[in-house]
């Protein structure tokens, strides 16, 4: 009897366990059948590609989106006046022609006839104008609203950020007919057409901005004009895109659809990729950096990318003012650490040392800018320059610091590595300064209250060298954390931008970069490579200039 009760208990336990295992036996078929099971109903068409994404942080209204989770989706479901090719060159999309007669102050845009939204409604220039006016209206809180600041009539604000007067549309937008409109800018910008492919400039269907309800509907299940249309959005779980039947543009979908699975952690996504439950992953988790090339073989992606990193030493810091001493110290620090070594050892060759101020995939990037030897490791020269600076004003026992945000695990290690080398080379004390949150760091940087140097990163919005200089080094630019103020640079940069000829423009940008090499308002570090991988179930995975896979070209085997 005594034995029996235990036998019963154990048997019951074993049964429960056996049942739970039995319940999962369908997955026992291994990795390949797991893929079919995981995608469930989505794969019934056979050619649906499963891709990685993060949950969009806003509704999918083009001017509202300012992060990649939403941007990835927008770029597949909408098409703008222009679009970017794989290599970053700008092509006409909805636009028939975009012309300027006065070096880029006023633009005339004609769009192709017969273009339609996914619900069949016609696409006219009014759809662009209305969408832009909505994005430019500060009352709407569009996070990408700054893209409209270049257009004449962008609303003015007082010191507290309140609107001066009322805003009833950008005066720089003038509709000529259903297929033609004119744009007037605040200042001449011959590259304005390049910006027009950015997602903030996408059109919105008629009526979608009329009421909060219509806007909500458009933002959660957009009517769109791109190669795909959004079929379902299960928040935090997945977004399903299917080919748009009304699309007749140049980049049609070559698969039966795309299902983006939402992840909060790319480690989980990476394991899904290894098990065959995910087809495309455009990110590699930190813990797999050293193994992903072996794990994935030729299905690993590791190539030059559009994300560019640097650190900034603000001019308002002691010893780093806009004078000879500041310049010498910046150059000394830049030459005091070995970028190549850190890229190789710390990042396993997944980053590439910077040779200029522009990411490697952007037209205008160069490894032969005059003066770029300041980006080379040269301890003797660094010591020499540092000593010269000390002769002007003694460094004493001060500590050199670089601030980073600790809420991302991506920065601590390299900041420490750079500071170690700088400290050793220059024989000074050098320490990291950790901010708990990115927003705290941005706050101090924006208010000009930093007490140390700070890390920074930049990703291109549109493929132009200007986009890596204007927004960061021009006097009143939003991301000018160093408070760099050099009229000579500004003049050369704007002159370069106003060149009609591509070659002349590139040459001009190189001249502007020469000035930056001398002043080092930011100290270039490295470009972040485009990393990722894909499964055995898909083919033709190519990564574009923005380090995003060209999803519409991926085919399912």
């Amino acid at each position: 009897m005594r034995k029996k009760i235990f036998a019963v208990l154990v048997a019951a336990g074993a049964l429960v366990f056996a049942l739970s295992l039995a319940a999962c036996s369908p997955a026992g078929g291994g990795a390949s059948s797991g893929a079919g099971a995981a995608s469930g109903d989505a794969t019934s068409g056979g050619g649906v590609v499963l891709a990685y994404n993060t949950e969009p942080q806003t509704n999918l209204i083009p001017s509202m989106v300012n992060e990649v989770g939403g941007g990835n989706i927008l770029e597949l479901i909408f098409e703008g006046l222009t679009r970017y090719d794989v290599d970053g060159s700008t092509k006409l999309a909805i636009a028939e022609s975009i012309t300027t007669t006065d070096d880029g102050k006023t633009w005339n845009v004609k769009i192709k006839e017969g273009k339609k939204f996914s619900d069949g409604s016609p696409l006219t220039v009014q759809n662009f104008v209305d969408a832009w006016n909505w994005g430019a209206n500060p009352e709407n809180g569009a996070l990408s609203g700054e893209f409209f600041m270049a257009i004449e009539g962008y609303p003015e604000v007082d010191e507290e950020g309140n609107l001066v007067g009322t805003f009833d549309g950008l005066s720089g937008l003038e509709v000529v007919s259903d297929t033609e409109f004119n744009i007037t800018l605040n200042e001449a910008d011959p590259e304005f057409d390049k910006q027009l492919g950015y997602s903030a400039f996408y059109p919105l269907p008629t009526g979608s901005l009329d009421s909060p309800e219509a806007l909500e509907a458009q933002g959660t299940k957009p009517v769109s004009n791109g190669p795909y249309v959004l079929q379902a959005w299960d928040h935090n779980e997945k977004i399903e895109l299917v080919p748009n039947p009304e699309y007749d543009g140049d980049i049609p979908a070559k698969n039966a659809g795309l299902t983006f699975k939402m992840y909060t952690d790319d480690s989980a996504a990476y394991n899904d990729l290894l098990a065959g439950n995910l087809d495309v992953l455009d990110s590699i988790p930190a813990d797999a950096m050293s193994t992903f090339k072996d794990d994935l073989g030729e299905r690993a992606i590791n190539q030059d990318g559009a994300v560019y990193q640097f650190f900034t030493i603000p001019y308002y810091l002691e010893h780093f003012a806009d004078d000879e001493e500041g310049r010498l110290r910046r150059q000394a620090i830049s030459m005091a650490f070995d970028r190549q070594e850190i890229c190789d050892t710390l990042f396993n060759g997944t980053r590439t040392p910077a040779t200029d101020f522009v990411a490697a995939v952007i037209p205008g990037h160069s490894d032969s800018i005059a003066g770029n030897e300041v980006l080379q490791y040269n301890p003797e020269k660094a010591k020499e320059l540092w000593a010269q600076a000390n002769a002007i004003s003694d460094w004493g026992n001060s500590t050199f610091k670089i601030a980073y945000n600790a809420d991302s695990s991506a920065h601590k290690e390299w900041v420490e590595a750079v500071l170690n080398q700088v400290g050793q080379t220059l024989e000074i004390s050098a320490e990291p300064e950790a901010y708990a949150q990115f927003s705290e760091l941005r706050n101090d940087a924006t208010n000009g209250t930093m007490k140390s140097a700070l890390r920074g990163g930049w990703q291109a919005d549109y493929p132009s060298a200007y986009n890596f200089m204007g927004p960061i080094y021009r006097l009143n630019a939003g991301a000018n954390d160093s408070r760099y103020n050099n009229p000579e640079f500004e003049k050369v940069l704007l002159e370069a931008r106003s060149q009609q000829d591509e070659a002349a423009r590139t040459e001009g940008y190189a001249k502007a970069q020469e000035i930056l090499m001398r002043d080092l308002p930011a100290i270039p570090l490295w470009g972040q490579n485009a990393l990722g991988g894909y499964s055995e179930h898909v083919d033709n995975v190519v990564v574009n200039w923005k380090t995003v896979p060209v999803y519409q070209d991926i085919v399912k085997k």
Partner: protein
């Protein structure tokens, strides 16, 4: 009994106000500027910034912000996230996941923990006892993310027996591994707790009396030993439900579960008071209810305990 339950339920009111206000104040006191973070490296135009601040009442002092929030709650409006989704929707998305995960973990840890604990406790010092003691020590000592990653890699990626991450239908199959990982540590505690209690009660006088009266062994074990041994175990399980619901961040991350833990973690970092406070309030309520149920269960298990 009724009065006791009534009194306990009345306690909810001050706890509700206290918890919401405290958490609201703490989120308010968090360093950093949530709106600046929305803009990323680029920053927002000042007018856009001002418009967003007005929309979320961020330009108001703490107390006013809190009153706005309370006013919303009493009309079942839990506010909006910075991404413009109603918090109610976010909760409706996240809680089912976490609830299912926590319940599965609780069932797993209770069934196996008590079963193994009884078996080990009755045969103290035996082979089974020693084995599960070592096993449970391992489970307690190894951090949960190590267990999670190991299981995920071996069972999910290499062997392909169970899905690597959960699927959208919340299937039992895909939730099994996360539930086991989540319940692993508590399983070890329940096992050890049950084992000690059973071993101690097995030699108690009333057990000897029961056996002497001629009761069968199964009756003695289930009615006398187990019933008395379960009181501390039930307390633990009740408290654990609350902990599992809010504290599953690590497990949720590993298995890509869009549950409460991960959502709150993100909301705290973004300084989204409405989301953090709403989620925490629900968790506090869950915690209060489970502890009430646990207290009532005491009376059922031990006739000596009565509530007035």
């Amino acid at each position: 009994m009724k009065r006791y339950v009534g009194r306990r339920l009345l306690q909810l009111i001050p706890v509700f106000f206290g918890a919401t206000f405290l958490i609201f104040a703490m989120v308010y006191a968090l360093p950093g500027d949530p709106i600046a973070a929305l803009g990323g490296d680029k920053g927002l135009p000042p007018a856009v910034r001002a418009a967003i601040e007005r929309e979320y009442h961020l330009d108001q002092p703490l107390l006013i912000q809190y009153l706005y929030y309370l006013k919303g709650i009493f009309t079942f409006d839990f506010g909006m996230t910075f991404s413009g989704r109603p918090v109610v929707e976010v909760m409706a998305d996240a809680f089912p996941w976490t609830l299912k995960l926590a319940l599965m973990a609780i069932v797993f840890e209770s069934v196996f923990g008590i079963l193994f604990g009884v078996f080990a406790g009755l045969r103290r010092g035996g082979v089974f006892d020693s084995t599960v003691l070592v096993l449970s020590l391992f489970l307690i000592a190894i951090p949960v993310f190590v267990i999670g990653f190991l299981l995920q890699f071996i069972i999910g990626v290499k062997l392909g027996w169970l899905p690597v991450t959960v699927d959208q239908s919340m299937s039992f199959k895909s939730m099994l591994m996360p539930a086991i990982v989540l319940g692993a540590v508590s399983f070890a505690y329940i096992l050890r707790l049950t084992r000690t209690e059973v071993a101690e009660n097995a030699t108690a006088d009333y057990v000897r009396t029961a056996t002497a009266k001629g009761l069968s062994r199964p009756k003695v074990v289930v009615r006398h030993i187990l019933r008395n041994s379960l009181i501390p175990v039930i307390t633990f399980i009740g408290a654990d439900l609350g902990a599992l619901m809010g504290g599953a961040i690590v497990t949720e991350g590993i298995f890509n579960i869009p549950g409460v833990g991960g959502t709150m973690y993100k909301a705290i970092f973004q300084g989204e008071a409405a989301t953090v406070v709403s989620f925490t309030t629900i968790l506090v309520l869950v915690y209060i209810f489970t502890s009430l149920i646990v207290d009532l269960l005491y009376a059922a298990l031990d006739p000596r305990i009565r509530y007035e």
